[in-house]
């Protein structure tokens, strides 16, 4: 590898050397479409927001002398006469994972310019998202009827309600925005909007990045808020 000498290869194209060549070559640093780079940077900022929420939740949970409500019991549902712990949250997790899979397939069919499949997979993804938000609305209703408020609840530490409504509410808002975003892109695929612009379907991958991120955030919420 080293015997050929440094000059043999043009700008080093792998590993840490490629960082230097990409940032210093007086050209666009990220060799991806600008929309994709911007989506990644937006997701980076969103990562900070959700981390601040989860870190704040960690802090209030650690610092409360009152026992934290047991999420396994709080989110249990009675189905067919049996109380199943955390079952609704489990189903919501599977719904979101399923939607991530259909989204990944939509990206693939988008690049193949298979418009019908890409659009219908995106609409399926949006549909799963809508189901997820519906189940979350059910969960919120159930907890509110049980007396959970941002400032108090009958099960334990008062901070539980504030953390719950803040974190799941912000995530649900992201899912809702994603459902609208995916639907708009899907309808534009169907009506030929992107065909008139040179048949470029990067937008499906960019919208997909947002959707996978929403699923990613749920992975962390599920682990730290519901399971911990």
């Amino acid at each position: 590898m080293a015997h050929e000498g440094i000059a043999a290869a043009a700008p080093a194209d792998a590993g840490w050397q490629s960082i230097v060549s990409d940032w210093s070559a007086d050209k666009a640093t990220f060799r991806v479409p600008w929309g994709k780079a911007m989506m990644w940077i937006f997701l980076l900022s969103d990562t900070f927001i959700f981390t601040c929420f989860l870190t704040g939740y960690m802090n209030v949970r650690m610092s409360s002398p009152v026992p934290w409500p047991n999420p396994s019991e709080v989110f249990a549902l009675t189905l067919f006469g049996h109380s199943i712990p955390l079952i609704l949250i489990g189903i919501m997790t599977f719904v979101l994972i399923t939607s991530s899979g259909t989204m990944a397939l939509a990206v693939n069919y988008g690049y193949r310019r298979n418009r019908a499949r890409a659009a219908s997979l995106m609409l399926m993804t949006a549909g799963f998202g809508a189901v997820f938000v519906g189940m979350q609305a059910f969960e919120w209703t159930k907890l509110i009827m049980e007396g959970v408020r941002p400032w108090t609840n009958p099960m334990g530490a008062e901070q539980f309600g504030a953390a719950f409504f803040m974190i799941t509410g912000f995530h649900g808002l992201h899912v809702s925005a994603g459902v609208i975003y995916l639907s708009i892109v899907a309808f534009r695929i169907i009506n030929g909007f992107y065909e008139r612009r040179g048949g470029n379907y990067e937008i499906v991958e960019i919208a997909g990045l947002y959707w996978h991120f929403v699923d990613l955030v749920w992975v962390f919420i599920f682990a730290f808020f519901y399971l911990w």
Partner: protein, 114 residues
């Protein structure tokens, strides 16, 4: 890897990862039935990180991006570990202060010594 054409990979890889994410989610849910303790915590974190890794790496195509983009996106969130560490220390301090200052005196026996 074919950046002009965007990220194109065989469909099979998505189906494999999809199945794996289902399996890992089932394991995650399963941890709820384990007794509390460090084993459960470790399993929750392991399944969480594996799921996050597969979503970012394969579904979000990060595994095929160039290091310049990967480091610009993954690097800054790594700094958040400092915030998490600081807030953990702070939370510990707050609970100790609350117990020391606001809890009921254990029993009246000690009072007459002062």
């Amino acid at each position: 890897m074919a950046h002009a054409e965007g990220q194109q990979h065989p469909l099979s890889i998505y189906f494999w990862i999809w199945g794996l994410l289902f399996l890992l989610s089932a394991f995650s849910y399963g941890t709820d039935f384990l007794p509390d303790g460090y084993v459960r915590m470790a399993l929750i974190l392991t399944f969480m990180l594996l799921k996050a890794g597969f979503i970012v790496g394969i579904f979000m195509h990060m595994a095929w991006e160039r290091v310049a983009l990967i480091s610009a996106i993954i690097g800054p969130p790594a700094l958040l570990l400092v915030l998490i560490g600081l807030m953990a220390i702070e939370g510990d301090y707050t609970i100790l202060t609350r117990i020391a200052s606001f809890s009921e005196p254990p029993a009246p026996v000690g009072l007459d010594h002062h």
